[in-house]
């Protein structure tokens, strides 16, 4: 019995009369419609018994018809391409569903996000705080599909203003009383990250006793913006979600769009996409290595890694005309060709990158002080990684082989195009995650070379003809440098997507951070946070706010001294 049959049989038995129908879409994507009675059991059965993963949970607002909640389960790490999507329709007047967080902890953030973005309510959620929206916004934004004007009318009121009106505003400031509290708040502006993020560390001396993360400060309403622009323009918006993994974002987005349109990407375009994505992975991992070096105070490593990274950026600039933000991918293919005369130039740069990378690996691998800072720090065991749904190098460093490139091949990653191996390390600590990335660098250089060789033999079209979307919904995935990237696009047949749902890798890994921080010191906090390679512009396409400041816990950040505390 194949896995697909087993899953279907199990679900049929489990759901009984609530099994309202199924459909196969895409390549081995099973969509099952059911009622809201059995969501918890399904989640428990799939994640615990069948060893599936809950990737994300999307809620799509259909106005008066109600809200579709889609649970995206993936089995691709067991059987290639195989996904199961369980759909539940909840009525618009009483949009309630039981929470599956107890059964599958991965769902926690997704459920919180969907509660923010749509009117759906997950009853019995253990932590139903607003994830993205300011706590001052009692209603949701996307339910504004009913009355958009009203929602937009509220936009000129910032959380600050609203809080002042409600009389809850406490100027964020440093007071002696708060300094006594053993609550250390990292962020939103903290040198640890160039982006804004916000951690609450409860400390005893230097030891972290408890931790809480509030990602945010980065919300740009991108999922809403997607709904107001055509598929081809959306590619450029996807490019701007994250500045580090922009090719991966567009690739994932276009994987979904091309599936919707049932467009086959030409072979040469596939290789070019893969080349760009792999170059980007090299750039991202080198960037990460530098930043991680900086986080443990190794400025020289930062400089050396970033010196090497410049060669990759040069190669990317040669191809696309821009160091970052390449705008290469279009619906159905790529925009510019890679002419033959620049191929040797790229090969030359790759050669430099390879030798420099080996040097960097030598330096880090045997450096006594660096190893002391990385070994046995931020341990994430395999079971926790699985139950919390870690992705990317974080999971691979915890001895769990998941990689979208291998499990759900897209672009030219399939075995018919390229040969390579997934890097897995069993160390489970920050050093293992470092090692995964370092080894992936070499794999990526090799992949780039294979792509360049393939470009020499392939020719033909760069872009396939674009059609109208004729599927209802599609899932697009890609392996970003940080892990699995997930797009779910719902189409209504027009040239504008009806709804776009995105789950970025950092989103998942960030949710595990509080768990990983516990038991280490403040000095370790930066490298633990850094070891998952958090990318908050990815994570916070949507917003988060710190809770209404109560009297006791106030922000104690670098960024906090109110004007009235100034003295000239």
């Amino acid at each position: 019995m194949t896995l697909a049959e087993r899953v279907m049989n199990d679900l049929r038995r489990l759901l009984g009369a609530d099994y309202l129908g199924d459909a196969w879409k895409q390549e081995k994507h099973l969509y099952i419609r059911t009622s809201s009675n059995h969501v918890e059991e399904v989640a428990e059965h799939i994640t615990k018994r069948l060893d599936g993963r809950l990737i994300h949970l999307s809620a799509v607002d259909y106005g008066w018809d109600g809200i579709d909640v889609v649970y995206h389960y993936a089995f691709d790490h067991i059987e290639r391409h195989f996904h199961v999507n369980v759909k539940v329709r909840v009525p618009a007047d009483r949009p309630e569903l039981p929470s599956v967080t107890a059964a599958a902890p991965q769902a926690s953030w997704s459920e919180r996000e969907m509660m923010d973005m749509t009117a759906v309510r997950f009853t019995s959620h253990p932590d139903p705080r607003h994830l993205w929206l300011p706590s001052e916004w009692p209603e949701t934004v996307e339910s504004g599909k009913f009355d958009e004007k009203e929602v937009l009318g509220r936009t000129d009121k910032t959380p600050e203003v609203l809080r002042r009106e409600r009389g809850e505003w406490i100027p964020l400031a440093i007071t002696p009383k708060a300094a006594e509290a053993s609550l250390i708040l990292l962020g939103p502006y903290h040198p640890l990250l160039i982006e804004s993020a916000y951690f609450r560390l409860k400390v005893d001396g230097e030891d972290v006793v408890d931790a809480d993360i509030k990602v945010g400060w980065n919300h740009r309403g991108i999922m809403k913006l997607f709904e107001s622009r055509s598929y081809s323009r959306g590619a450029f918006l996807a490019e701007k979600i994250c500045g580090i993994c922009n090719v991966c974002h567009t690739t994932a987005y276009l994987n979904a769009v091309e599936t919707l349109m049932q467009v086959e990407v030409p072979e040469r375009a596939r290789y070019i996409r893969t080349l760009m994505a792999e170059l980007e992975r090299i750039h991202s991992h080198l960037l990460w290595l530098g930043v991680a070096g900086d986080l443990i105070g190794f400025k020289t490593l930062f400089m050396l890694a970033w010196r090497t990274r410049e060669h990759v950026l040069d190669a990317l600039e040669l191809i696309s005309g821009s160091r970052r933000s390449h705008d290469m991918n279009l619906v159905g293919g790529v925009r510019t060709d890679i002419p033959e005369e620049i191929v040797p130039k790229i090969e030359e740069r790759l050669k430099i990158v390879k030798s420099e990378t080996r040097k960097l690996i030598d330096i880090v691998h045997d450096h006594p002080v660096a190893r002391k800072r990385l070994d046995d720090i931020g341990v994430l065991d395999t079971d926790t990684a699985k139950s919390a749904g870690a992705v990317g190098p974080t999971a691979r460093g915890s001895d769990w082989k998941i990689d979208v490139r291998w499990s759900d091949p897209y672009a030219a990653y399939g075995t018919e195009y390229l040969t390579w191996d997934v890097v897995v390390e069993g160390g489970k600590d920050a050093w293992a995650r470092t090692l995964v990335r370092l080894r992936e660098l070499l794999v990526s250089v090799d992949l780039c070379k294979q792509c360049l060789d393939a470009l020499k033999r392939t020719g033909g079209l760069l872009q396939a003809e674009v059609r109208e979307p004729n599927l209802e919904e599609a899932i697009g995935k890609a392996e970003a440098p940080r892990g699995e990237l997930f797009y779910y696009i719902v189409s209504d047949g027009t040239n504008i997507p009806y709804s776009v749902r995105i789950r970025t890798p950092s989103y998942r890994n960030n949710a595990i951070l509080p768990h990983m921080l516990k038991g280490y010191t403040i000095a370790d906090a930066p490298i633990i946070i850094g070891s998952i390679d958090p990318c908050y512009s990815c994570t916070d396409r949507k917003v988060v706010v710190e809770e209404a400041a109560t009297g006791k816990t106030q922000l104690l950040t670098v960024g906090n001294i109110h004007r009235k505390y100034r003295k000239r």
């Binding site: 964020l172 040198p191 160039i194 919300h219 913006l225 994250c242 400089m303 970033w306 970052r324």
Partner: protein
Amino acid sequence: MSELDLTLKQKVRTYSPWVFHAHAGSCNNCDIEIAAIFAPRFDVERLGIQLKNNPRHADILLVTGPVPKQSKPMLRRVYDQVPNPKVVLVVGTCAMTGGIYNFDDNRPNYALAGPVGSVIPVDVSVPGCPPKPEAIIQGLVMAVRRLAMR
């Protein structure tokens, strides 16, 4: 006013500008390009420019991003903490106007509090998405000159 007529005060300001980088919801492109100007290829320490992690030590405030509503009070506060004289350098398209996130002025993005210019006074802007590091250095040099004249 030529550079030769500067007083000592203005000269030392030109010679040693310290930079604080405030991230206000940008997509990371500009942030890593800003980090790149401190890396070996573009090393701006040649000019005496140093990246400080503390607004209280800074002279120039580098701001990136379209300023989400959530970040607005924080950005304002960071600006207040930079001791006078100070200069604000805005890097990137979305920090200048909202860029791709503020696609249509008639239907403003619900999540954004407007460009940086509407939150804090801006002195120098560097368009680009992201600007090349050379362009950021050019902007920094302009900002340094303005700093000296403050």
